[in-house]
Amino acid sequence: MTAELPPGLALQKVDERIMTLNVGPQHPGSGHMRLIVQIDGDYIVACDPDPGYVHRGEEKMAEYRNYILNIPHLERPVIHDSCNVLYPYVLGVEELLGIEVPERAKYVRVIASELNRCIYTMYWLAIYGIFLGHSTMFMWPAGDRELLIDLMEKMTGARVTHAYFVPGGVRNDLPPNFEDVCLRQVNYFEKRIKEYADIFYDNPILISRTRDTGVLSRQDAIRLGTTGSVLRASGVDFDLRKKEPYDVYDELDFKTNVLKEGDSYARSKIPWLDMLESCQIIRQALKKMPKSGSVRVKLKPNPKGKLDSVYKRVESGRGSLGCYIVSDGKPEPYRLKMSVGSFRNLIALPYLLKGEKLGNMPSVYWSLNYWPVEADR
């Protein structure tokens, strides 16, 4: 045995006190990934996240399809948040093709994007509830999500994978009388999610369980490159809808929610506060939206992008979501790269779990607002 082994291949000394657990991929508390957790008694010594079980090669697939055909498969990474996943791609393609989007379409996009953010967050919240052993918090968001899914179905014709955003606007106009239905559903939805405070967020057992666990300081949050709700829960006021407004977000009045604690509880509360803010945005957008007009610019068949590269990013349900498109003048992109919030948040997990108790693993892991399929792309 030579001593000059590279660090990754060096043999580790086996400690008999330490037990290695393979949490996942077939585990109720893992998702489509594996966490290799080493525990000493009840304390986690090391955690090694092992994503990649649902890698689908979205980026490579995008190089073989033209700009329109890329729409349906690029929203697959997060089908619950499909409008937001597609948003940066559509914005980038519009810049490459030099299209100006109609005013009404911009508002429709904002409404669809905020509805989708709520749908995604409700699903995430449901799983956060069941990870903490709170089965009512699993069923309530899963049921109340239906309100918004019905709205999206009226809007786009599909319940989850909408393929609604296209370069040049949105695929189809809103159905008649949509504004009234949307307002009613969103008002009821807001009333419902305010009730979650009673059963979940103000629950003393939940607070004592998630307070001061997995604390991510402000410096570490910036240094590790986290984004979205994780960053905002650590006291950094960063929301792309405010910092780099796209479409009509600069005309709408809303605030970003920032908490200073940086623990699991704050990280789980930020998406819920964001949902309440989304309801405000939807109401404003419905009021300000032009009542009639085109929602889509006609494109030439098989449009060719100009010889350029473009990087666009939006605030998705999981944080900043960027899309980098390189065009070489052909109908297909030369290279497409998605920078997803999930993967950037996952990087923080080994740092947060070191020294935590095993019972905190699910709450810390899922509070990172991580979606395994999106991280693998």
């Binding site: 052993g133 918090m137 069923m139 239906e146 629950n203 057992i205 108790k357 019972g359």
Partner: protein, 432 residues
């Protein structure tokens, strides 16, 4: 909003009842009667009281109360009946099955869904039977490296211990399987067995998640046994006996929860922990350690553990009723007439049906059973309720709660009991 549940219609409900009745009759006529007839062809008919026991005669005797009731009476007087049917296993298993169904429906109502709905047509009443059939028909898989004899023995031991617990509970005056003078000590002994079985099964599975779950269960049960025993000390001091029937008798005027509310609360919390119910279901925390010490059980082995768990739940709820809520005591609500019909006969026009008496089915016994079941169901309801409201807590929080807070409250409870004793308000045997 989208439709969550099919709407309830009374006509549909009646139709489903008739439907079930039709199918039961249909199957009886098609399968049951031919089977009986075939058996009758094969066997030799006996001669009883000088008469050949033909099927007609057998049916005649079956509907003749003067012949059947003594047989039923004789059966009910046996120890077998007590162990297998009424205060023992059958009664407890029925209540446990009802508990599982009620839990699922209640939790569903809390969570805005319908729960079991289709199996059995009436609100999914046969769902449990379907689940049982599924568990029986599944293959039993045993890990290759498991310690097989211990692994096999664990579920059986678990059910046996739970049944032993059930046998100590007095349901109605005189109706208890094992009426021993050290009944409460027997209860403590039986409770002390559960951690041993849990750690045996967890260790014998030779797998990581069951091992962690078993260790957690051991922590939890051992650290909560001390407050459990201490919280019952107040009742023992006030009654001066360990016999559970006598403890119930002492509460004819007031249930002990009136004087010892702290003890009752502590006992309820420790009961939740011993039963591994939410918020104390750490040994089965599915998002952390899959199913804890149950992970490697499959098929009917898992079914047996579930049966044992719910028997244990019933027994703990019944113990709470016996010790704090006055057991079978309650206002007399059962009217006396069924007893008179049975003993003195009933006159209908010219005919007087004379039926021999059944002194075991007294008015007091029926009334006591009614109140006991009512109180037990109420306690079970409060045991099930936290599952819809609370998340799971953590091991360190659990141990902290058990060792610091609950034991302190137990001593407060003991001092209250001592104060009541020395003030002369209460003494052994109830109100002085």
């Amino acid at each position: 909003m989208s439709v969550i549940a099919p709407q309830f219609k009374f006509s549909e409900f009646v139709k489903s009842l008739l439907d079930n009745a039709f199918w039961i009759l249909f199957l009886m006529v098609l399968v049951g009667l031919p089977a009986v007839m075939m058996i009758l062809f094969v066997i030799d008919l006996p001669v009883i009281d000088g008469e050949l026991l033909t099927p007609f005669l057998a049916f005649t005797w079956l509907v003749d109360p003067t012949r059947t009731l003594p047989i039923i009476h004789a059966l009910m007087a046996t120890d077998f009946f007590r162990i297998a049917v009424f205060p023992g296993f059958g009664f407890a298993a029925l209540l446990a099955a009802g508990t599982i169904f009620a839990e699922r429906k209640m939790l569903a109502k809390m969570q805005l869904r319908v729960g079991p709905f289709y199996c059995g047509k009436i609100e999914g009443i046969l769902q449990l039977m379907g689940d049982g059939l599924k568990l029986i028909s599944k293959e039993i898989i045993i890990p290759a490296k498991a310690d097989k004899p211990l692994f096999w023995a664990a579920p059986v031991l678990f059910v046996a211990t739970a049944a032993a617990f059930v046998s100590l509970i007095p349901v109605a005056p005189g109706w208890v399987v094992a009426d021993i003078d050290l009944g409460l000590l027997g209860v403590f002994a039986v409770i002390g067995f559960f951690p041993i079985i849990t750690i045996l099964s967890a260790w014998s599975a030779n797998s990581k998640y069951p091992f962690i779950g078993g260790i957690r269960a051991l922590f939890q049960m051992v650290s909560f046994e001390i407050p459990l025993i201490l919280s019952l000390l107040g009742v023992v001091m006030l009654t001066g006996t360990l016999n559970l029937s006598e403890i119930v008798e002492s509460q004819s005027a007031f249930p002990w929860i009136v004087f010892l509310p702290i003890g009752a609360i502590v006992f309820f919390i420790t009961m939740l922990a011993e039963l591994e119910r939410i918020p104390f279901d750490l040994p089965e925390a599915e998002s952390e350690i899959v199913a804890g010490w149950l992970t490697e059980f499959s098929g009917m082995m898992y079914g047996l553990v579930q049966l044992g768990t719910y028997l244990k739940l019933y027994a703990f709820a019944a113990l709470f009723v016996v010790l704090f809520l006055g057991g079978w005591h309650g206002p007399m609500v059962v009217p006396p007439f069924p007893y008179e019909i049975i003993t003195e006969g009933i006159t209908m026009g010219p005919v007087t049906a004379q039926i021999p008496g059944l002194p075991l089915f007294t008015q007091e016994m029926l009334n006591g059973t009614f109140w006991f079941v009512l109180k037990t169901v109420a306690v079970i309801f409060f045991i099930l309720l936290p599952r819809g409201v609370f998340p799971r807590i953590r091991v360190d929080m659990l141990l902290n709660l058990g060792w610091t807070k609950l034991i302190g409250l137990c001593f407060v409870n003991i001092f209250i009991a001592l104060g009541l004793l020395y003030a002369g308000v209460l003494g052994p045997g109830g109100l002085q």
